[in-house]
Every structure is written in structure tokens, then in C-alpha cells.
Amino acid sequence: MKDWSEICKQGEFWLTKVKIVDPEAGRIFEGAVKVDGGLIAEVREGAFAGEGKILDGEGLHLAPGLIDLHVHLREPGYEEKETVQTGAMSAARGGVTTLCSMPNTNPICDDGSKVAFIRARARQAGLCRVLPVGAITRGSDGKQLADLGEMHDEGAIAFSDDGWPVADAGIMRRAMELSRAWDLLIMSHSEEASLSRGGQMHEGSVSSRLGLEGIPRESEEIAVEREVRLAKMTGAKLHICHISSGGSVDIIRRAKAEGLRVTGETTPHYLLLDHSHVSTYDSHKKMNPPLREKIDQEALVQGLIDGTLDAVATDHAPHTEIEKNVEFAYAPFGVTGLETSLSAVITRLVEPGLLDLPAAVALMSSKPAAIIGVEQGRLVAGAPADLVLFDPTERWTVRGKETASRSDNTPFEGMELTGRVRATFLAGRPVFRRYEEDGESRESFTPNLAKEAAIA
């Protein structure tokens, strides 16, 4: 087994015999990619043996490294659930090379020093670019605006009180107005809490049977509608997080038709699962917003197909087994997702022919890149050499215990998914590999600590 890291160390190499998935051009072609100094130096189409140092791609597919707009890294404060290090390992294992970390840590990421701390931690890990999302209000208390400008200076990519929706419409209005000064992105966890309070799962036939308090769709839809109107009023750039309800898709469709700068994401679990999966009181199916109905699933898929929804993000929310292995009502909301997102999207959207592979990859690379305005997510000369090498046909069974995350609360436990990551490159270095040796599957992580990589 040749060591790819050694080959890549000089900074210049060819990755040959790959099927290049170009999400922007919307096509797949055989070819080779030249990497130099952490950037893509050349993309060459057609059969090519390569010159100089060569990595043999063995006919696997190569796409831009994935961009996940919604991840909870838990550090500082909840290191027992996840750290920047373990979260970055989980990302690398899932082919994710850029992620946005949500601010609901302890303390809340609500000033410049906390943004800088997370970025420093990510550089130490060297496995994934981490773009912190700053809080909208101090301590995410929904009352007083946080210093958005200072956090922006330190590298915050967007602003959100994720986990604690901004209840006061007046505060949200002022946040959106202030964001115009630097044209910052506001990410909204849209939830009208007076309708969802005490809720444990989607309000519907299954909650009726299980005797669990419901969270109606309207708690999300009313909040999405509010945010859209405030975005129109203020001209702010708005991104709606983790959309679960079909009604929210309609609201965003109308907002886009009006020409507003509104984007939206949904998650793999809303695409693959629905409220019937809660019927054994499995706390690994508990998240907020909750799994909804088949008709919502279909509306979400349609929204991704017609471009109403712009991205698939995971809302990766690790919790320890101690916290999750309790009575349903006492378990915290949230499921992991970094290591299953590409496979879940291939299984749900590509395999049944709803989207072709480049379009599906675009939802996790070029499109989220456009939302946050970064240069990653593209497979063209000059772009950062963040790449994911994968087999879109390999079938595998999800086992939480095999995760690189510190927590194993996957909602897909035991499910067979199609498509699997074989290697992840960050700034021109292979940071994760899965390979066969002596007939056994092995994995290795190699952080990219090169200064010139300047990750994060």
C-alpha cells in the first residue's frame, strides 16, 4: 500500500483515472486533476497517464469536498459530546471539507475571541475547514444584539441563534438591518416556540397514538414566513436552516419568485425518514424540528429538484449515549450526520433517478459555497484542492459504533446506504483514507498542518 501522504508532501501531484463530478457544469467525465500548492492546478479530460507524482484514482468518482452549512461541534463546553477535533474527523470521514459550526456552545459563540478560538482549534485539527457561525444575540438570549461586526472581523461566516430561535421579531429585524452594514448572512432556526413548547415529535397521527406532545408544522412555517417578511423589509441575506415542512418550501418558493435573497436547506434525515420511524420511541429519531410526514418528504425532494431549496446540510448534533439512552421524553433533540450525508443523498435522490449525481453533489458543494460566499465547492483550476474520492455504488450498513464522531447517535442505524467515501483531500493533502489491506478495510486520518494550507 503506497502512502499517499508521502507522495503529496511535495505539494504537486496528479490524481489520475477518476470520474470527475463537476457540480457547476452538471456533468461527469473521465480525467485527471493536477494539484499544486493546495490548489487545483489543472483539470484534464480524457485518458491520461500523468507525469511526475501520481495517485491512481482507480476509476472512483472525484467531486469537490463537501460543504456542510449546519454542524454542532459542541466545543467549548460540551466536549463529552464532540470536540472540534472529533467533529473534524467525522467530517473528513464523510467527505466534508468545509463546515459551518453553530454557536450554541457553552459559552455561546457570541464575540470575536470565541470565533477565533474555534478557528484555532480547527487549524490544530487540520482535517476540515471550520467556519464559525456567530450568535445573533448575546448568549443567544434573544434580547440584546451581539457584536456582529467584531465576529465578522474574526472570520464568522454567518449569524444565527440556532437552537434558541429569536422569539422577538423586533430583535430579528434589527439584526437583519445591522447585517446590511457588511452584507452578512443571517441563518434562521425558524420556530414559533409558543406552538412547539413541550413538543416531542411531529404533531399528527403518530403522536396521537404514542401519546407524545406534538410539534405542529405551523410552528416552523409561521416563523419562516416571519423571517421572509423581515428579509423583504430589511433587504437582508437570509438562509433558512433545517427545513422539515412542505409548507416552508412553498414560502421560500414565493420569496424567491419575489426576488428576495432567501435560501434554504434541508437535511438527510428529513429526506429518508418520517414520523412513523418514531413509533418504537427510538430517541435516535428525535430531533428538532421533528421528522414529519411522507408528503413533507416529497415536498422537500421537489424543492431540491426545482431549486427552491439550495442545500442539504446535516444539522449534525452529537449527544452522548448516556443522554440519549433514556425515556424518549427525557432524551435531548439531535442526531449525527456528517458521515452519512453523501450516502444518504445518493440513496434517496440519485439512486431512484430523482437527481443526477452532479446535481446532488451541487447541493452539498457549489450551492452551499455560493450561499456563504467561499471559493471552495468547485472542481476547477484555481479552486482549493478540497476533494472527495468516492464510490457511488458501494453499499454499506450504517453502524453508529464505527463513527469517528465522539457520539454515535445516528438516525440511520442498521440502514443500508449506497455510496461511500474512500478518500478526502483538504488543501491538497489526503486527510482521510479508507483502503483495503490484507483483505481488511482500514482507515487512516492524516491532518494537514502545512502552513501554506491556511485552512480555516
Binding site: E203, G204, S205, S207, S208, R209, L210, G211, L212, E213, G214, P216, L272, L273, S276, H277, V278, S279, T280, Y281, D282, K285, I322, N325, V326, E327, F328, A329, Y330, G414, M415
Partner: protein
Amino acid sequence: MSFDRMHLLDLESLSREEIIHILDTAESFREISEREIKKVPTLRGFTVVNLFFEDSTRTRISFELAEKRLSADVVNFSKSTSSVQKGESLLDTVENLLAMKMDIIVMRHGASGAPHYLAERVPASVVNAGDGKHEHPTQGLLDMLTMRHHLGDLSGRKVVIVGDILHSRVARSNIHGLTKLGAEVVLSGPPTFIPPKPESLGVSVDYDIGRALKGAHVVNVLRVQKERQEGGLMPSMRAYARDWQVGLKHLELLAPDGIVMHPGPMNRGVEIAQEVADGPRSVILEQVTNGLAVRMAVLYLLSEARKKLERGEIEEKPLEKSEVLA
């Protein structure tokens, strides 16, 4: 018909035949409590723990008496005397008890699904004595046993459940059991007390109690809890009583053999008028008597299933799993 289950978690997952089998078995246990020596050796050698994480008087006493009349060894555990308040998890609590070799756990718990959680993780049999707002299967069974005594076959019979259906585990067990036996189930109460998508439960809803009760064979009146009123679902207890209290004027709407039931404890003058609770149509105390017989039957059937499992005559079936994407 044989009953091969290791647990009684809910009525929703039982078949019509299993329900009838439990009710038939309960009939034979009714007689034991009429004897001079009200005791049989059926559960000798079995240890049963009554694990009550919520206050309960009648259900706990009913279970305890059923266990003792079957000669089981009985241990009682309630939240106020346990280490639960110190933050021990449910699983740790139960595993500690099981280290002392318990065979059957009778559990009441405030969280819906807690008995299912436990049944998947421990080797003992679990009997649900009421979980959150989910089910109270032995109450559902004793209600049906009582109805059968007065009405015979329940198929085609109209049963009206009145009150806070949304938060009622009794209502859910009644609904699942009665619909399986072919009864027509109608829910009545303020719209804020009706669960979402009631039609998915196989029942109909009529907010007008007078219309709902017309020709009914059973009116099962649920307890209205004061804290629910304060939760904003109803303006006041008085407001509830004005439009949904079952009073004397309602009795004449019932079928000639119609009966009035209540799972207790009653708020006289709120959900049920004094004259109705104590009137000739009331079978409320019979329900209590039947509760004992039903619980004896359930414990007996589970103990028999455990013996069969030990002898290798049956295999333990996994609990029903949610359908997983193919």
C-alpha cells in the same frame, strides 16, 4: 389460542384474539376473589416488583392484591422512597432490582414509551401500569370486561369516551381495544382535548355531548385534571362542567341497557354529576372489582409464557420495529 408474549405494553399491538383470550381468562379469575380463601398458588416462586414513578393508589393496590392472591413474592417501589430523586437512570434502577432476580416488572411512569424502552433492554417481563399519555392497557381491559358483562358481545356497540382524550392513557387503551372488538367509538369533549387526526385511530368525534350520547351503550367518563385547565386548554373547570359534564339529563339519551363508567378517581360535580356517579346506570365499582381479575389474568398469562420460554417451547419475538426504508 395461547398467549405467547413476554410483556404487556399496550393494547395497540395486541390482536383481537389475544384481547378476547385475556378477557376470557379474567372471567375465571373473578371467581377466586369470591372464595373464602382468596388465594391460589399460580405465581408461587415468581417475584414481581411494582415500580411506580407516579402517584397511584388504586392501580398499585389492585396490582399488589392480584400478585398476592396469585402467591407471588411482591416488592413495592415508588419514586418517593427511591434513589431516582438522586438522578439514577431508569435503566440503572431496574438493573439493580433485577440483580435480585425479579421476574415481572409492573411499571407506572410519567414518560410515554418508558415500558417499551425497558422491555427492549431487560430480561424481565414488563407490564405497563400506565405510561405518560400513551396507554394503560390493564385499565382498557378491565373496562372491556365490565362492558362485556353488561352488554355481551361488543361488536356494533356504541361507546362514547368523554373528556380530555388528548392527555388520557385510559382513552388510548380503550380506543385500541374497543375498535379491535368491533365497537363503534365516539370521542366527545372540548376541541382542545381531542388529539390530532382522531380518524387515524378509527374513531369519530362529536363535540356536542348530547348528540354523541344518543343511543350509546357505554359512556366512559374521563377524569379532568385541574393542571390541564391551567395549561390554557380550557378557561376553567366550571367552563368544562357547563358543556361536558355527564348529568342526569344525559342518561335518558343512552340506549336502554346503557351504562356509565369512570376510571377514577372522580371529580364529582366536574366531569360527572353526583347523581350519575351513584345512580343505577353506574358500574364504576364493578370496574374496580374487574380490575383485580384482569390483572390476575395478565400476570398469570405472562408467567405461563415465561415458563414456556424457559422450556424452549416458544421463542421470544423481538418487539415490533418501525419499518425501515428498503
